[in-house]
Structures are given as structure tokens and as C-alpha cells.
Symmetry: C2
Subunit: 190 residues, 2 copies
DNA sequence: ATTCACATGTAAGCCGTTACATGATTCA
DNA sequence: TGAATCATGTAACGGCTTACATGTGAAT
């Protein structure tokens, strides 16, 4: 059976905001939802071609931005009525449970195989990464509040608050866990 | 370039606890780390064969449990010294950043395309799922506290607390977001 | 002169999921 | 008799990542 193919809908959804090129889509993903979604060119460009063949999007035109620094002409795609229908249909459907795989936790689960400092260091790296992402989210929020407020801008804000909540919780857990493991180590050395 | 293949290390790590069959591994994964890691037979059995060929594990014997209800004999694998070395090596390496994809958030990001109730219903489902998982985690914790305490049991406890913290944060976010969206909808209808 | 950003695309290949196949034994 | 559990395995395939290819024009 076919698997998910959510890239398809990520692209359609982005094009529902406004016509864009594949390059634009990648940039928006990286700059606004990277903390919970990633895409790469190797998937985007073939999918744009496929969606185009299926009539869910159409090539609106080729152009070159004024500020641009060269390169080939941009291929700007727009979503069609059919494409809008498809993405809405997807939005109506309840999604299946995520089967996330958190490598950090798997490694910690097997922590008894390595010295404690190795596990602690891994958690410290996680904490630092989370702190950095939280900073980025802060700047995204600043941008969002600077822009105009309307119904459309509402939804990006709630995904943003998910990210903030999540990374704060991660940082908390990291700090508590580091303290706990350090305490335990000291107790064992006595 | 080769991708991650973390199933490999999940299996090796589990076999570092004790010799097991593929069926056992799947059961342990489902019963103790399912909230952050999933595996399936279609991946486990071929991987066991591969690891065996590579000498990282070895077939310790075939048997049948006393309480068992038939079926083919279990193939019990044990990790080898070489296998232990391999899993330790992996544990020492910092892991790359996860590229998680949270479908709920992607759908919410495009929330402007569907009626508000659809988005709210999706968040409610997420909240309910999180509540259920939190219940399961509670029972895992109870089991853990009932068992004997040693260095090995320490690490499963910290992954457990990650799960608890995470799902509590998710529930909080769901409730705040539902309230926020409902308030906004009411404001718009006025 | 070289780096950087722009921009599109293909090829290879692993990872992981799903569906299917098989069959013995226990319990209701 | 039929359902459920135990248990191992294969086949097919899609999704996604990574690496590679190509080239322009602006800025330092």
C-alpha cells in the first residue's frame, strides 16, 4: 500500500498561500516551519513536476526577481482549483499517529553500556541545540508580530507556540536529568 | 551515502540487556519505548540475519517457552563481543539532529483553508491521544518501581521522564490552543 | 579572481512500512 | 470448530535523503 507522501501536501499548502517556485518553497519551509518540518530539493522538484502533470498545480510563468543574483529563471507555480480541493480533503482527514524515533532517548536507554559522562554530554548537546532553536523561534515570533494580523497569520502562531512549549520542556528535562545523573554518579563514587 | 540505519543499533542494544528472539525484541520495544521508538518485524528479522552474518550477534539456540501456545521454535540471539563494541561505538557518537515531521502542525499551519472546527477537532484528538499515552507511561513507571533498582534501570527511567514531560507539555499546549481558537472564533462571529 | 546566492534538476539507494505466507497449539 | 497467540519470515514498494551536475551574475 502507498505510504503517506506528505511532501505533496506540504507543497500544495504552501502554494495555497501564494504562487511560488520550488526554491521559494524550500526557503519558506526552512525559515518558518523547520522546527517541525523539513523538505529538500531532491524531493520538491520531482514533486512539482508530478503535481503539475496531475493538474493540481500549474506553471504560472518564468521570471527572475529584481534583486536576484543570476541563475536560471524561476519557475513559478500556482495551485489550481483541483489542487485546493486535494489539500482541503487531506486537511479534513485525521492523521495517523506519528511514529517518531528519538535517537537521543534510544541512546540513553542503553546508557548502561557507556560511561555516565557520555550520556551526560549527549544531553548537554541536546539542551544547547534546544536553546538555539528557541532563540530562532523568538525571532520568528518577532517577525510575525511585525507583520499584519489576520486569520491566516493566526495558524502559524499556534504552531510557533507548540515549538516554544516543546523546546522549553526539553530544556527543562535536560537540566533536571543532567542534575539527576550527576548526583547519582557522585553517590556511586562515594 | 548510506543513511542511518538505527534499527541495527536498537536491536544490538536490546540484545545487550539479554539474549532474545526477534519476537521478544518487538515486544520489548512495544511495551517499553514505543512512545519514542517503533520497530516492525519486516525490518527486525532481516536485520537479525544481517547482524548474524556480520558476526555482531549469534544464534544462541532454538527453544520454546513453557507458557507458549505453539508456533515455530524461537530463535534466540545473543550479542557478541564484536557486537558490543559496535553498539558502544555508536553510543559514543553524537547523533545528528532529528528531522522530525509533525503532521498535526503542518495541517494547522494551513488551517486557514478549512473551517476552524476542523482544526480544533484535530487538536482535540491529539490531546486525547496524549492523555492515553500518559496513562500508559504511568503504568510503565509503576512496573519500573516494582522491579529492582540498579544502574541499568536508571536509564529507562530518564527516558520515561522525557515522555512524561513531553506529553504533559503537549496536553497543555492543546488545551491552551483550543481555548484560544474558540475565543477567536467567537470574536469573529460577533 | 573568487566566493556567494540564485535556481533547477537527476540518480542512486537506503530505510522503513505494509501486506502476504505459514503453521502449531491452546482455550472457549 | 474457530479464534487468539506464538513465531518467523519474504516481497514489494514508496518516501526521503544524499550526492552530483550545471550555470549565471553580483559583490568583495
Amino acid at each position: 500500500m502507498a505510504q503517506k507522501n506528505r511532501t505533496r501536501f506540504a507543497i500544495l499548502g504552501m502554494l495555497a498561500f501564494q504562487p511560488m517556485s520550488g526554491y521559494d518553497i524550500k526557503k519558506i519551509v526552512d525559515n518558518s516551519i523547520a522546527y517541525f518540518w523539513k523538505e529538500n530539493y531532491g524531493h520538491i522538484y520531482p514533486m512539482l513536476a508530478e503535481l503539475s502533470r496531475e493538474g493540481l498545480i500549474k506553471l504560472q510563468g518564468r521570471d527572475r526577481k529584481k534583486e536576484t543574483k543570476g541563475g536560471p529563471e524561476r519557475k513559478v507555480y500556482a495551485i489550481t482549483e483541483q489542487g485546493k480541493k486535494a489539500v482541503k480533503e487531506w486537511l479534513y482527514q485525521p492523521h495517523a499517529a506519528e511514529n517518531s524515533r528519538i535517537e537521543l532517548l534510544l541512546k540513553l536507554f542503553f546508557g548502561m553500556l557507556v560511561p555516565m559522562e557520555i550520556s551526560i554530554a549527549a544531553i548537554e548537546r541536546e539542551r544547547d541545540a534546544a536553546i538555539n532553536i528557541l532563540k530562532e523561534l523568538k525571532s520568528i515570533r518577532k517577525q510575525a508580530h511585525a507583520g499584519e494580523q489576520n486569520e491566516t497569520s493566526l495558524f502559524p502562531l499556534i504552531t510557533l507556540s507548540y515549538g516554544e512549549k516543546h523546546y522549553k520542556a526539553v530544556i527543562e528535562w535536560c537540566e533536571e536529568t543532567i542534575a539527576f545523573l550527576k548526583k547519582t554518579t557522585k553517590g556511586m563514587k562515594k
